[in-house]
Symmetry: D2
Subunit: 320 residues, 4 copies
Amino acid sequence: FISTGGLPPASRVGELVAEAHSRFRTVELGANSTVYPALTRVPSELFGICVAGTDGEIFSVGDADREFAVMSVSKPFIFALICDLIGPTGARERLGVNATGYPFNSLTGIERSQNGRTNPMVNAGAIATTSLAPGDSMDDKWTFISEGLSRFAGRGLAVNEDVYASASETNFRNRSIAWMLASRDSIYCDPAEAVDLYTCQCALNVSARDLAVMGATLAHGGVNPITREQVVRPETCHYTLAVMLTGGLYETSGDWLYEIGLPGKSGIGGGIVTVSPGKSGLGVFSPPLDDEGNSVRGQLVAQFLSQRLGLDLLVSSPSG
Amino acid sequence: FISTGGLPPASRVGELVAEAHSRFRTVELGANSTVYPALTRVPSELFGICVAGTDGEIFSVGDADREFAVMSVSKPFIFALICDLIGPTGARERLGVNATGYPFNSLTGIERSQNGRTNPMVNAGAIATTSLAPGDSMDDKWTFISEGLSRFAGRGLAVNEDVYASASETNFRNRSIAWMLASRDSIYCDPAEAVDLYTCQCALNVSARDLAVMGATLAHGGVNPITREQVVRPETCHYTLAVMLTGGLYETSGDWLYEIGLPGKSGIGGGIVTVSPGKSGLGVFSPPLDDEGNSVRGQLVAQFLSQRLGLDLLVSSPSG
Amino acid sequence: FISTGGLPPASRVGELVAEAHSRFRTVELGANSTVYPALTRVPSELFGICVAGTDGEIFSVGDADREFAVMSVSKPFIFALICDLIGPTGARERLGVNATGYPFNSLTGIERSQNGRTNPMVNAGAIATTSLAPGDSMDDKWTFISEGLSRFAGRGLAVNEDVYASASETNFRNRSIAWMLASRDSIYCDPAEAVDLYTCQCALNVSARDLAVMGATLAHGGVNPITREQVVRPETCHYTLAVMLTGGLYETSGDWLYEIGLPGKSGIGGGIVTVSPGKSGLGVFSPPLDDEGNSVRGQLVAQFLSQRLGLDLLVSSPSG
Amino acid sequence: FISTGGLPPASRVGELVAEAHSRFRTVELGANSTVYPALTRVPSELFGICVAGTDGEIFSVGDADREFAVMSVSKPFIFALICDLIGPTGARERLGVNATGYPFNSLTGIERSQNGRTNPMVNAGAIATTSLAPGDSMDDKWTFISEGLSRFAGRGLAVNEDVYASASETNFRNRSIAWMLASRDSIYCDPAEAVDLYTCQCALNVSARDLAVMGATLAHGGVNPITREQVVRPETCHYTLAVMLTGGLYETSGDWLYEIGLPGKSGIGGGIVTVSPGKSGLGVFSPPLDDEGNSVRGQLVAQFLSQRLGLDLLVSSPSG
């Protein structure tokens, strides 16, 4: 009962990935995030692309192995781990799945919500998701989170200590969100601990290749196409991609879908992931962001490859 | 460059459509819309389902030919006609494509918007869409609208005069929306005329079969699979399905996607349409609505058939 | 059961009014309203001040007899007429009396309100107030409004036809407000007629002297201190001044009160009125407005005279 | 330059205070706050009224010396202390003075504000006010706060440890507010410390008599009429009463003003204070609250005495 279809032949995928890199590496719009000094210092010209097929083939170009802070791109993967653990009904009840219509860090979105639930792709829902990590201690919870994300990537991910330190000192808005959630019974461990775990999770280092493999895992019924490990159940992928479509690019998720037709998630570290169910994951790394906080080149690559690789979920042809 | 895959064998589709009908016809939750007397009077037990394949095969059961007011289900099809006419860039600039986070008839959503644009699936964006109908006179504009929707259905659609009369007398909120759009330069003909055209458009009668064929047209690169007429361009289907995914069920669009994984649109007349690109359109008619104003049985059928017919866009399997 | 106290001796009042004029006539900040061409064309240097004591003494300087469009300064006086007619309980039930926290022309303020009520000092509440004008025809209603306002001024007020014509062509936002009120059962005659009456009411010409007398009437238990006519009941003055304090300067009413300590109301025609219960009314006319749409010099004069004439309602002295 | 006028003769005041008590002690509407167990346990029938004249005369009846938690009634007095310290311009810049249109504990009100400022009468502005308490240590800051409030009361106020303990464990919303203020540079000491100081300040015990004297101090140019101490400057009283008028009863401040015509402030401990500049302060204590969280009998007494004692600031009489 699944969609069929696959990627074009490997040689064609390789050509298109290379073409995307050469076509967009000259685009010099946008600027690194200034939220944390450690993000501002990353060389802006770094640019890596990787496509991971569900058959395990990897197509990468440029700085695809360069590590950077995963930031918000961690959100869908943590959601997948928690949804897999407590089930899609419990996850929706505790976290919400609709668009808020408000920015990623909004308190109004929580306040307007009937029950304090938002969406796992915005900070409120993401912190609530992280607060559901099982474990009797912070260490246990962190092990769940870091090992879970590492299983998606197929290798052990480590924390970027610079980013973690900066973020810990300045995450006032996330603390406000966590206490607001607490006042509405929508956070599921100590709020200060939830913020700390979330800050740490966002500071994990990944590469474009990691993001591609992580995305490909969601495109492959929850099985990592490299390690062959079943990271989450097949149905969990459906639910994760649903919340990504709804809120992956926050209040411009509609624009993203209009342009690209695939689930995606971006982070202010310059990473972006998109998922083509049954086919592939795409990871891009390029630090300069647009005004909405999304990697400029990352979006261009995603749009180009969505069209050229035939990934767009919404396209049809009368001859097809 | 398109997704491949198709429906199960015809006999299996027929069985599943019949099973959906027998399974859900005993569900007696919800109540007819009380917005207009003409909607309240429709027999609640009416229940029709139709699947139209992109190959032109029709699978229908129950009251699939019974006519009812299309209401908001007209929105994606009018958007498709206008988007086809002025192009996706122009359509986005004039109408907006992101989720508003506010109810379908909200003025706040317009007021909060930077430029008065919303989404073609909520009333504000839908009235603005209708206001873009070409023509020097109301008659010309109406001809564009009614003939365009009729081309999607593959037959001439007629106005339900009762619904039109009731709606014309009580559409205060839509008039408020239209004048608000005017104050923000976001409506493109006389506001009172736009509301009248929109009211009339929503009062067109369709059947579940019509909705299935209309949806199948968007699933088939814009070609009506029965009449073989090219109603809109292939790429227009992508853009139309994108706005449906973002806002087709208003502020519960995330819930719909979480459950069903397909673009859909419902109306208070009891109709609901879902689209499976490359495969089929589904139309359901059952008047009783839930508290959010969506057909109870319509949603159950959509979820059942999305799973059993393998339509869900977000599912994948490690076995390929 | 009333506050006592009065103005300083007449000669001192005269001196202070003259001083206010000479002190602020060199202030050249702000700009005429650009909302209507007829407002933009008014010579910016016009500057009139008038204080009317409750004993009937008039202190005026500069262009205090020059006529200009009353615009929003009509709101408290129409409210007084309607409140006097239907009583304070009925007026509050139908119109609301709390601050909305939203701009004067906001639809969100109406949408957020539990029952569609706002405040008679913002457009929504003001249009609703006007819609309560008694009469079987537009002519009758208009007679009630124009004669009522004229009784406050103590002379017959006439419509500024230029302003009325401009406003009638461009009052889209007010039409949106009126239909929104209709959708929430918060307007009390035909919405289009209410907007027309309101537009006409705002286009009435007054002078700074008129405003002073109108204000003095509210300061004098509802008796016009010049004509000695009882325009409204004494208790109506209390209720009118209460809504002025709450919303007279829209979302900056708190700033006004912080600076001036008196009920006031401004209009984009450049007029401003303040009321000192038991003592006097103050009218100022100076077209250049600040970014919030309030007469720059008008506010300066009000603050200066509130202090120097001992009008501030919130001041006390341990020696007093 | 101040308003004149005074209270009726002492015997008449005494009669009216006694009449208010006997008239309203049979009103049994409302219910004790359930926010903290310590508030719920207070006997509901307790009922005290006190009027303190600016001449130092005290008129009290019932449980006017019974202590209860001051809660939000502390807000105007802390504002007065801080405004006196840093001046009205600095206070407005750092705290804001306009109505937010949102509930007392809203985060949306902060988020919508251009610069994170709200009003010292709602929790956000009140916590920000408290954060401006001078001192190098928590002890120093607390000394400033507790001694300042004690000077208003004319006696040393002590903390209700039960209320403080309950509140400290459950003040999640205030912590959210404090961190939100921090993210917008609108809090002026460590956010956690500000919340703790604020929680402690709200847990101070006062009596109806204390509130009357505290109010009378604001009515008497800042001089405590009993101790004759100058607690704050005369002009500080004006600014404090201005913010009380604007926000003292949160989003129903307009209703309060419509009914009573005086600055007031209520708390969920059942206390309410009103101020008549130049004349008197009124303190009432009665635990049962209405749905908005204001003492039912407190409001009735305030309205009755405002009228009968001739305190209403907005009333005038043509014969006056």
